[in-house]
């Protein structure tokens, strides 16, 4: 019974393609996040949704579009993939907008070739 699950775990794709990463949480949390960990190991927030409402939208290229169909899901769609998009993407969730004690998924390692 995985608390925060994201799929796929690994994704290798060519430049210019469009891809999606899915995330689901079964913890009953009302806030979900997407984080990016780049090659330098920086873990940085990209987006946050609270009750399906976008509350954090960091300086991220508009090729990245999050979609939250309901409180338990937050998917990440990426258009026109570039080499620099290669990273590990983590989904997370927490109770409330406090952004503390978040539960993370196992990560999706995206490699753009």
């Amino acid at each position: 019974d995985t608390a925060v699950s994201q799929t796929p775990k690994y994704l290798v794709t060519q430049m210019g393609n469009d891809k999606s990463i899915k995330c689901e949480q079964n913890l009953g949390h009302d806030t979900m996040y997407w984080y990016k960990q780049d090659s330098k190991k920086f873990l940085k927030i990209m987006f946050s949704y609270n009750n399906k409402e976008l509350i954090i939208n960091e300086t991220v290229p508009n090729r990245f579009s999050p979609k939250s169909p309901d409180k338990a899901h937050l998917n990440l769609h990426i258009n026109s993939l570039e080499l620099g998009d290669s990273a590990v993407y983590f989904c997370a969730s927490s109770h409330g907008r406090g952004n503390t004690e978040a539960f993370f998924g196992q990560g999706t390692r995206l490699t753009v070739v």
Partner: protein, 115 residues
């Protein structure tokens, strides 16, 4: 511009001894600090936190100390166990527009506990 810094990329400790992981920050407006632990191929796992109004929080073998005047916090693990070997991230919470909060993360310290 890193607002949260973990200046030691790695630390090696003997089993049974104390592990001390350090974290420095620059923003005096951070109101909450957290430590996360990460094993390879897994997401970070919440470990322990401390509010900016406290100077110490203890949970079993883990204690976090906060020195606000020095803008420094540390995580103590006593006694260290081989299963503690992981990357430890320090994170600080910032409040910004719309009463929203986000975490600013350090780069992590890789702890190796040797049997």
């Amino acid at each position: 511009d890193q607002q949260v810094k973990q200046n030691s990329p790695s630390l090696s400790v003997q089993e049974g001894r104390i592990s001390i992981l350090n974290c420095d920050y620059t923003n005096s407006m951070f109101d909450y600090f957290l430590w996360y632990k990460k094993y390879p191929a897994e997401g970070p796992t919440f470990l322990i936190s401390i509010s900016s109004i406290k100077d110490k929080n203890e949970d079993g073998r883990f204690t976090v100390f906060l020195n606000k005047s020095a803008k420094h916090l540390s995580l103590h693990i006593v006694p260290s166990q081989p299963g503690d070997s992981a990357v430890y991230f320090c994170a600080a919470r910032a409040i910004y527009a719309g009463n929203n909060r986000k975490l600013i993360w350090g780069l992590g310290t890789s702890l190796a506990v040797n049997p």
